[in-house]
């Protein structure tokens, strides 16, 4: 439990798009501790997807240091990085990304193929993972035979099957109605509190973000300081049986950044979030 699960130090990411350099991230430092529960929020184009890909080890920073599971990914080959992803990260996607012609249990077992486990062992673990997400009764169903919420549960089981340190969920409720979205969030919270899996959500739904223990706000490729949405880590609802509040699905994307004060924070070295107070921005340029 010593090393943080994910750690980014002064990470930048630039893309070449038709000859134009786009600075998606301009210098982001953050730490995701073991058992953390954080929501990355920000408007479209803010760089939160890029941040998500970097944290998940799918992409490499242009500059800066990124440690996944304690290992600096700059020192890893593509294949080693794939194995680090396999061992450390569980991905949950907005569009579930299940293989259509494959049963739930085989979908869940898929990451274990790349761990070299035997088929029987893979399926046994996949069944366990499906039971953990309450899908033990749908083992042989194909994605098309499942509802959206059920599909996302299967996808979460797939993320869990390799016992990762971190679940990275990219808009996990984005394709679900409010009720099912709440159920999926409840499941993620339960996995976080009961099983100690760190959860990082990327969302632009502030209601979803509010359920995380802390929020990380991204805007124009930078983290914003101390979000106003939750000035202190609010007690997150940990009970999965919390009845979903009748929330309007209003996308308050504009509000996510507009109300945030832009005063630059005091740059700090070391673990910016060690005190658990929230996000810290380190600006690349004043």
């Amino acid at each position: 439990m010593s090393a943080p699960a994910l750690e980014a130090v002064e990470v930048t990411r630039a893309y070449e798009l038709e000859g134009v350099t786009v600075q998606a991230l301009r210098g982001v430092s953050l730490t995701v501790e073991q058992g953390d529960c954080a929501a990355v929020v920000g408007p479209s184009g803010s760089g939160k997807s890029t941040l998500m890909h970097l944290l998940g080890g799918l992409d490499r920073p242009t500059t800066g240091v990124l440690r996944v599971g304690g290992r600096d990914i700059a020192t890893l080959s593509e294949d080693e990085l794939a194995q680090v992803r396999n061992a450390t990260i569980g991905f949950v996607f907005q569009a579930f990304q299940l293989l259509g012609r494959t049963s739930a249990v085989d979908n869940v077992a898929m990451p274990l193929v790349y761990r070299g486990l035997k088929r029987g062992e893979r399926r046994r673990r996949a069944r366990e993972a499906l039971e953990r997400v309450g899908m033990g009764h749908r083992l042989d169903h194909r994605p098309a035979q499942l509802s959206g919420g059920e599909q996302q549960r299967v996808a979460i089981a797939r993320a869990l099957v390799g016992d990762p340190q971190v679940l990275l969920a990219d808009e996990p409720t984005g394709n679900l109605d409010t009720r099912t979205g709440d159920e999926v969030m409840g499941l993620l919270e339960r996995l976080n509190t009961e099983q100690g899996v760190a959860v990082v959500l990327v969302t632009h739904d502030l209601d979803v973000a509010a359920r995380a223990r802390r929020q990380i706000r991204v805007r124009d490729g930078l983290l914003e300081p101390n979000p106003t949405l939750t000035p202190t880590p609010t007690p997150t609802p940990t009970s999965t049986t919390t009845p979903p509040e009748p929330r309007a699905r209003a996308r308050r994307t504009r509000g996510s950044g507009g109300v945030v004060p832009t005063t630059p924070p005091e740059p700090r070295a070391g673990r910016p979030w060690a005190d658990g107070s929230g996000g810290v921005v380190r600006r690349a340029a004043p």
Partner: protein, 387 residues
């Protein structure tokens, strides 16, 4: 994994395979027919007898000018004396003639020969006896006939002692050959053998077409060949003669058939190549269609080589399954063809299915590599974003 993917697109997989199936089947069938033809020729040539040397006027080559024979019966004696095997040089003078018995008639090859024939060639008799020295000396009008001719002329009755008309002249049947089938295009079951002297008179031709000798052993074939040629060169200084052995005949015919087989197989191989291009094409489509799957697999830990191998395996599976079906069709087709047509002897050499399978697997690897590498190199971030 690979199987699942192929099964999911069953029709497409099947159609893709079809190119390989047809290519492999065509190669197998054509090689089988080529091999069968070669085998058949070898059987026929070897069935004539062992250690044969056949002496003909002129050059025995494709395209050389046909040469009028100036050989005569006396030359056979000279060669026999030179080789110290008098009376063991078979002679032949042949012509197509109509043979009649009662109301039945047939147009067959009539061979003027001498008693050396059974010693040189394998010509077992079913009934009666062969021509004797005295038959030749006295120009006796006797005949030994093939089993097929006996059947068609006599309708099952015993031909021995009967008189048939050969080219209008009456000959008495003294023997019937056993059935031996045809050889190098000659239907040996519909032949008539008469004394060479009788044939010379019948055909109005005092010459001899060719000689045939049998060397005492394989090692002596070359000696026999040379001696025979030397005798003739001595007697006819301005003429050319050829003395061919069975090996030479087999060599020539074998080369021609081998070349034919190679050309046919190469043409069939082109369709296999086209089939491979089809596989490559479909695999590229498949990679594009499954970009998100590839992105997902990479995200959850698939290495580049895992993805490459998965797609390569799919391609190889396509072509080898196609190859196996093709081999089955090819073997079945060859056997069917040779059963349906007597002229098409098909022999499945052990190496032809093995080769076909190997080639189809190689086609899968060769044509699968490009799509598979493309799949393996996809960037997971980009791949996951694809719609």
């Amino acid at each position: 994994m690979a199987v699942t993917a192929l099964r999911a697109n069953r029709l497409r997989s099947l159609l893709t395979m079809l190119g390989v199936v047809i290519g492999v089947a065509a190669v197998v069938v054509l090689v089988a027919i080529g091999t069968g033809a070669k085998q058949e020729v070898e059987d026929q040539v070897n069935g004539l007898g062992a250690n044969l040397v056949i002496v003909v006027p002129g050059r025995l080559e494709l395209g050389s000018a046909p040469t009028k024979s100036r050989l005569e019966l006396g030359d056979a004696e000279r060669i026999g004396r030179a080789l110290d095997m008098p009376g063991r040089v078979a002679v032949t003078l042949s012509s197509g003639e109509t043979v009649r018995f009662g109301s039945n008639s047939a147009f067959v090859t009539v061979n003027g020969t001498n008693p050396a024939v059974p010693e040189v060639f394998v010509r077992p008799l079913a009934r009666g006896q062969y021509l004797r020295e005295s038959d030749v000396d006295t120009r006796r009008r006797v005949a030994v006939i093939g089993s097929g001719l006996a059947e068609s002329l006599f309708d099952g009755a015993d031909p021995l002692g009967r008189t048939v008309s050969v080219g209008g002249v009456r000959f008495r049947v003294i023997g019937v050959f056993q059935t031996v089938g045809s050889s190098l295009g000659a239907d040996r079951d519909n032949e008539v053998h008469i004394p060479i002297t009788a044939a010379q008179r019948l055909f109005g031709d005092m010459r001899v077409d060719a000689f045939a000798l049998k060397a005492p052993s394989t090692q002596q074939i070359e000696d026999v060949r040379r001696t025979a040629l030397a005798v003739l060169a001595d007697r006819y200084p301005d003429e050319e003669f050829s003395a061919v052995t069975q090996d030479q005949i087999l060599g020539t015919v074998g080369r021609i058939l081998g070349l034919l087989t190679t050309v046919l197989a190469a043409i069939a191989g082109i369709s296999l190549l086209v089939g491979g291009v089809g596989v490559s094409n479909i695999m590229l489509v498949s990679v594009r269609e499954r970009t998100r799957e590839i992105g997902l697999r990479k995200a959850v830990g698939a290495r580049t080589r895992d993805i490459t191998l998965q797609f390569l395996l799919e391609a190889v599976l396509l072509t080898t399954i196609g190859g196996l079906i093709g081999i089955a069709l090819g073997v079945g087709g060859s056997l069917g063809l040779s059963a349906a047509f007597d002229q098409l002897p098909a022999v499945i050499a052990w190496w032809s299915p093995v080769l076909a399978f190997t080639v189809s697997a190689a086609v899968g690897i060769f044509f699968g590599v490009v799509p598979a590498r493309r799949a393996g190199r996809l960037d997971p971030v980009v791949a996951l974003r694809t719609e």
